[in-house]
């Protein structure tokens, strides 16, 4: 049997433990609110709660983050459908179709369809994760450090290839992140590197500080420095939501299954994430559906394909995180941070050492997607009220929460200074279009890559061919190299990229 039903049962019971269940609900609420409010992304919300997970156990922390992840990843569609404002780049295809459907008078059903498609995609994806993660982990246990290095290498390469507009910029960002990862004590030789005699740098650059600074503070500076409009919100009409009937949902079954499949598959590729899944699914659906002429004019297929793929990617992204310790997206990169904060290294051993925790996470994710229907309905119903919260006030609170979050890590003001510094760097990275996700993944995966690389070479007596002598390692390295050159081939074929591609960013 692929899954251990005994542990799944324990996981389900654990997920209903008051603390765990509360974390799922709180996470979903925070996620849906953050995802739906333009300017606050699901990733920002996960980053903001990360320091506070210090105070909790590993499982409630992860469930809180999974709640935010599942809720936030769908919620941007609400503002997209209602006001033509996608909460996140991944919600752009939904907005294209949803807002047109709104204008045609189908706003209630469009909202309901988005909620249901997200829930179905997310649930199927969580189920896939539950079924496929354990065998995936068993296979992963036979890997040596050479294979691990090859996988991390693939992760680093995928980040560069997928979802970025300039390979040069993505590489610069990635290597800056990896260079930052070398600061502090070298784990293999026990030597300090680039610490400049600073006590705070001896333990390395804390990725939580970098994440908070780059994403949250950088975003606040970007938003408020661009605006010439008067601060404050405008009052809008409130809309009701109608869930689709079974027949309406059944008529879109092929679209939903395709969206889920694409979402799940793209989600498992490190560095791809929901945005790429959403655009790919939308594009594929346009090619294969019976009414492609309706795309861009209010197509139910377009809306369903995008929404199912977005949430379908969540389970897929969790598979490499849980089984290999490789984050498949920005959000799972932060979740990896939560694991590390609790001194737990995700990977195949997680399934043998703490199977209860893993299955509680599985069960929690399944629950999340079911509860999301209720939370989504509530939030969609009352969202017009929340839209009245002035953005300026929200941004001020975000900055204060970031300061507290950075301070809470070690009760040290030096961390707060570092976080503020990275906030300014984050702003300039946005300004000069230097993508941030590669830096973050470089910072997280860089030390792992170094560790596996050096350990493998020490074991092989500095023989570099060790990476090419093992079949899987060799295949993965060549696959990485092929992926690296893919954009150049694609660029030469197309000559001019699609306008839509420019809106893709790697989340």
């Amino acid at each position: 049997m692929w899954i251990d039903l005994h542990y799944l049962g324990i996981g389900l019971v654990n997920a209903f433990h008051p603390m765990n269940f509360a974390m799922i609900i709180v996470g979903l609420m925070i996620g849906v609110l953050a995802g739906a409010l333009p300017g606050i992304t699901m990733l920002n919300a996960i980053v903001l709660v990360l320091p506070f997970t210090y105070l909790m156990g590993m499982v409630p922390s992860l469930l809180l983050m999974i709640g935010i992840y599942c809720g936030g990843i769908f919620a941007g569609s609400i503002t997209g459908i209602l006001f033509n404002i996608p909460g996140d780049p991944m919600n752009v295809p939904t907005t294209w179709e949803g807002y047109k459907l709104n204008k045609k008078g189908f706003v209630s059903l469009a909202l309901g369809m988005a909620i249901m498609c997200s829930a179905v995609g997310g649930f199927l994806s969580a189920l896939t994760m539950t079924l496929l993660s354990p065998p995936f982990a068993k296979v992963a246990l036979s890997f040596s450090t050479a294979e691990y290095f090859a996988i991390v290498f693939l992760g680093l390469t995928s980040v560069v290839v997928i979802g970025t507009r300039s390979i040069g910029s993505a590489l610069i960002s990635l290597f800056i992140g990896m260079a930052l990862g070398t600061v502090g004590m070298d784990e293999i030789y026990g030597v300090f590197r680039f610490t400049f005699g600073s006590r705070i740098l001896e333990t390395g650059v804390n990725f939580v500080i970098v994440l908070i600074g780059l994403f949250a503070i950088g975003e606040v500076l970007e938003q408020l420095s661009m605006k010439a409009k008067e601060a404050g919100g405008t009052l809008r009409e409130r809309h009701k939501t109608r869930l689709p009937r079974l027949g309406e949902l059944w008529s879109l079954r092929s679209t939903i299954l395709r969206g889920f499949g694409i979402g799940c598959l793209v989600g498992t590729i490190p560095g791809a994430g929901a945005t790429v899944a959403s655009f790919v699914s939308y594009g594929v659906e346009k090619q294969v559906c019976k009414k492609p002429e309706l795309f861009g004019k209010g197509s139910w297929e377009g809306l369903a394909a995008s929404e199912t793929a977005i949430n379908g990617s969540t389970g897929g992204a969790m598979i490499p995180l849980l089984t290999l310790g490789i984050p498949g997206s920005g959000a799972t990169a932060v979740m990896l941070g939560a694991f590390l904060l609790h001194n737990v290294q995700p990977g195949p051993l997680l399934f043998t050492k703490t199977p209860e925790s893993v299955y509680t996470i599985f069960a929690g994710m399944l629950l999340c997607n079911l509860i999301m229907i209720l939370v989504g309905l509530l939030v969609a119903r009352f969202f017009s009220e929340l839209m009245r919260t002035p953005e300026v006030i929200l941004d001020a609170f975000i900055v204060v929460f970031c300061l507290i979050g950075a301070f809470a890590l070690r009760n040290d003001m030096a961390d707060v200074w570092l976080m503020a510094g990275f906030g300014i760097i984050g702003y300039f990275m946005r300004r000069y279009e230097l993508p941030i996700p590669p830096l973050v993944l470089g910072l997280i995966l860089g030390p792992l890559a170094e560790n596996y690389f050096m350990t493998t070479l020490i074991g092989a007596g500095n023989d570099f061919t060790v990476f090419f002598r093992r079949p899987l390692s060799c295949t993965l390295i060549f696959l990485s190299i092929a992926l690296f050159f893919l954009p150049y081939v694609r660029f030469r074929k197309k000559k001019q990229p699609l306008e839509q591609e420019s809106e893709i960013s790697s989340y």
């Binding site: 260079a179 030597v191 590197r193 680039f194 661009m226 010439a228 300061l403 003001m413 503020a420 279009e433």
Partner: protein
């Protein structure tokens, strides 16, 4: 016209050039990493040096991309900074405000620094309603303090000298401690 294009290209190369210079500086610093050499091993400087070389190569790739892009003169430009409606004064003021609160947290303490931050930040960001500004700042500060000091027991900075006593007095007044 050609001169202008060359000028624009040179300007676009400043960023990669700056990063390249910094990478080169750190590359030389990596050479000074103290190490007891073990024969047959690569040593602690190998990895950072490799990364820094790759970073410098990436700067080269970016420079080539920029030059090709400017030469192509097509509608779509990869990696170039798009013109945006930037309010530079507001940006500088906000950066100063964020750095200011970090400094003020150490000197004035979290309570006073946050209250002042809410006031100044929202004002700079364009919030004009004075009454709501004061109410939001006060309630926001007290709410955050209750949550993190009273509920979570986080020892947020109380400030120095007179401000330390003032913060403690205000904490007692607000029944936070």
């Amino acid at each position: 016209m050609k001169k202008m294009r060359v000028g624009a290209t040179a300007s676009s190369l400043k960023g990669p050039g700056l990063i390249f210079s910094m990478a080169l500086y750190f590359y030389f610093l990596a050479g000074r990493i103290q190490d007891v050499p073990i024969s047959g091993q690569l040593g602690p400087a190998f990895w950072p040096k490799t990364i820094l070389i790759l970073l410098m190569v990436s700067c080269g790739i970016k420079a080539v991309e920029t030059i090709l892009e400017k030469g192509r003169k097509t509608g779509v430009s990869y990696g170039s900074s798009q013109p945006k409606d930037l309010n530079i004064v507001r940006l500088i003021a906000m950066i100063a405000c964020i750095m200011g609160i970090v400094w003020a947290m150490e000197i004035l303490g979290f309570l006073l620094a946050t209250f002042l931050f809410f006031l100044v930040f929202t004002r700079i960001a364009g919030w004009r309603r004075i009454a709501s500004l004061l109410i939001t700042s006060s309630l926001g500060t007290v709410g955050v303090l209750y949550l993190f000091v009273k509920v979570v027991y986080l020892p947020l900075p109380k400030g120095q000298w007179f401000f330390n006593d003032l913060t403690i007095f205000l904490y007692r007044l607000l029944a936070i401690i």
